[in-house]
């Protein structure tokens, strides 16, 4: 019997880093895994996965039509051997019949990674080759979706993200979902306890040493070194590099006062809930 643990996040929030950590943990090797050898089909929006399980091409259906069938694909994972750890950027939305997009069956749990939106904005701007103001608009747009072209075939299915706040709320308020929330900032500042919490939640066998080693094998320096020497296939055309700075707090040098104010205005409630604003509403 199988099932799925979702590694869920808004884009540019540390999901790839977590997947590389898990691949290193599962590999248990003396050397870091090659970042370009990670299985690419493990995102929920993979056409290859959806098409294989459904037995027809998602390209032959509209995005709305295929969304109605996605729960059945993930539920089928219960009937396949082995537990899967799959990345997902979709918000936790529902089909027309009220079924969660990820299905009622098949989901064993979700590890939700949250990152300060003040830092997401410069990262998104770099990744997508858009301005900071466009990135601020994106995370405030309730209709924003990835891979949303209707005039070409994106390699992935459309992924509705909602606003950044809407994304966080959709996952963290989901009913009957086995959920663990991690902050990107804690993965950076307090890696051993934070990655240990993730590992325990995902029910993976581990020792302190194996987690420590996987953390070292997925360090920013290691990932940057690998990208410099062999590239990284998840980099977009627009971005010069995927692994950029691996820090928190970069917004202080990247965003104007006005831009910070716009982000806070749209997302204050959720930012405060997760410790990104102090009691006075000022950024931490």
């Amino acid at each position: 019997m199988g099932g799925i643990y979702w590694l869920a996040s808004y884009p540019k929030s540390g999901n790839t880093w977590m997947r590389i950590f898990l691949q290193n943990l599962l590999a248990g090797s003396d050397a870091p895994i090659n970042i370009n050898s990670m299985p690419s089909h493990r995102i929920a929006s993979s056409r290859e996965w959806i098409d294989d399980v459904l037995g027809f091409d998602s390209a032959d259906m509209s995005a709305d039509e295929i969304d109605q069938l996605r729960p059945a694909v993930y539920a089928w994972a219960m009937r396949e051997p082995g537990i899967g750890y799959h990345k997902i950027h979709d918000a936790y939305t529902h089909t027309h019949t009220g079924e969660p997009l990820t299905g009622r069956n098949g989901t064993l749990g979700a590890l939700y990674i949250i990152r300060n939106p003040l830092d997401i904005v410069p990262s998104l701007s770099h990744h997508n080759g858009c301005s900071l103001n466009e990135a601020i608009d994106q995370i405030a747009d309730p209709n924003f979706a990835l891979s949303d072209s209707r005039d070409a075939l994106p390699s992935q299915l459309r992924q509705r993200l909602l606003t950044w706040s809407g994304h966080v709320e959709s996952w963290t308020n989901a009913e009957n979902l086995n959920l663990e929330v991690l902050r990107y900032e804690d993965m950076l500042s307090d890696p051993l306890p934070t990655f240990t919490r993730a590992t325990r939640f995902l029910n993976l066998s581990h020792t302190v040493q194996s987690i420590q080693r996987a953390i070292e094998h997925s360090s920013f320096e290691e990932l940057k070194k690998q990208e410099l020497s062999g590239g990284f296939r998840e980099r977009t055309t627009e971005a010069r590099s995927f692994f950029r700075q691996g820090k928190s707090g970069n917004w202080r040098t990247n965003l104007s006062e006005n831009q910070v104010a716009r982000i806070i205005e749209s997302h204050a409630q959720i930012m405060q809930r997760y410790g990104y604003l102090d009691n006075n509403g000022s950024p931490e």
């Binding site: 294989d52 037995g55 509209s62 539920a75 070409a152 390699s155 055309t237």
Partner: protein, 304 residues
């Protein structure tokens, strides 16, 4: 019994009598009974007996029977490589029922008959043919349309049916293009009909004749869009030739359901041994179709 008004077609080396209009070469003058019959009817009650489920919507009994239920579209039942029964949903339009017939029931029938099916398009060059294989969105149809623009014949688009003696069959007489790809080929979208109203992919008609014979596949290009500025061609040799064939298997789960993986491997080995293979990488955004075609033709003629 099939209706007397059923149309007669020829495609993929088979004569096909169908109650549904199909984008295949006209076979009106061919003798009946045809190799394949496609009826619109209720699924027979015995169809589901003894089937094993291999996905949320599909069931198999070896190469004898295949059943797939596509919500809001139709249920398709395929028996012994000869008969297809289509039971459309009440709300489904003909174009939609036809599209899913071409991409589910017909491929299942062709596997039942022992063919090798790949995600590929194929173009005639002299008395041979060149195949491009790659996943959805990799640029197969764009390349095929580029060759068509240069006056070459396109045998098939997206579904490449290979006979056991490594020949490519003439398939549907259309190339399916997304509007962005049509624009790249300077093909006007307005003149073309969408393959179904719910999506914007367009049908670019081909002119297949009824007497087309299969052609030997001598060159196979495994294609992909990557972060490069110009097309790059790299020969694939030895056992590595099997990997792109395996990765571009059409509907691998059908093979699993029909327990045909071993046969598929035999056919793939035979094809890999009979054709030259190369990996063709082209720019993610622009495709660089013209220079890609020139690289392919130079490779074909041995000038590379």
């Amino acid at each position: 019994m099939i209706s007397e008004n059923a149309m007669l077609y020829i495609a993929n080396g088979l004569t096909i009598q169908s109650e549904l209009d199909l984008p295949f070469a006209d076979g009106q003058k061919l003798p009946t009974p045809a190799d394949v019959s496609i009826r619109i009817d209720q699924i027979p009650p015995f169809a589901a007996a003894g089937l094993t489920q291999f996905g949320p919507l599909m069931w198999f009994k070896g190469t004898e029977r295949f059943l797939i239920q596509i919500p809001q579209v139709a249920t398709y039942y395929v028996e012994r490589g000869r008969d297809i029964v289509v039971s459309p949903a009440s709300t489904a339009d003909n174009a939609t029922v036809r599209l899913f017939l071409l991409t589910t029931a017909l491929p299942a029938l062709l596997i039942q008959r022992g063919n090798l099916l790949l995600h590929g398009s194929c173009v005639r060059v002299e008395d041979q043919c060149i195949a491009f294989i790659g996943p959805s969105g990799s640029g197969k149809s764009t390349l095929a349309a580029g060759f068509l623009n240069r006056g070459y014949s396109v045998l098939t688009d997206d579904l490449l049916v290979v006979t056991p003696d490594n020949n490519a069959m003439y398939g549907a007489n259309q190339i399916e293009l997304w509007p962005d790809a049509a624009r790249l080929q300077e093909i006007s979208s307005e003149a073309l009909a969408p393959v179904r109203q719910q999506i914007r992919r367009l049908s670019l008609p081909l002119e297949h004749k009824g007497n087309n014979q299969p052609l030997p596949i001598t060159h196979i290009y495994s294609i992909g869009r990557e972060l490069v500025t110009k097309p790059h061609l790299q020969p694939i040799t030895g056992l590595a030739r099997l990997e792109p064939l395996y990765k571009n298997t059409y509907r691998p789960r059908y093979l699993q359901g029909m327990a045909q993986q071993a046969r598929h491997m035999q056919l793939s080995v035979s094809l890999a041994a009979s054709a030259s293979m190369a990996k063709l990488t082209f720019p993610r955004e622009t495709f660089a179709t013209q220079s890609s075609i020139e690289r392919i033709l130079a490779d074909f003629s041995g000038a590379e």
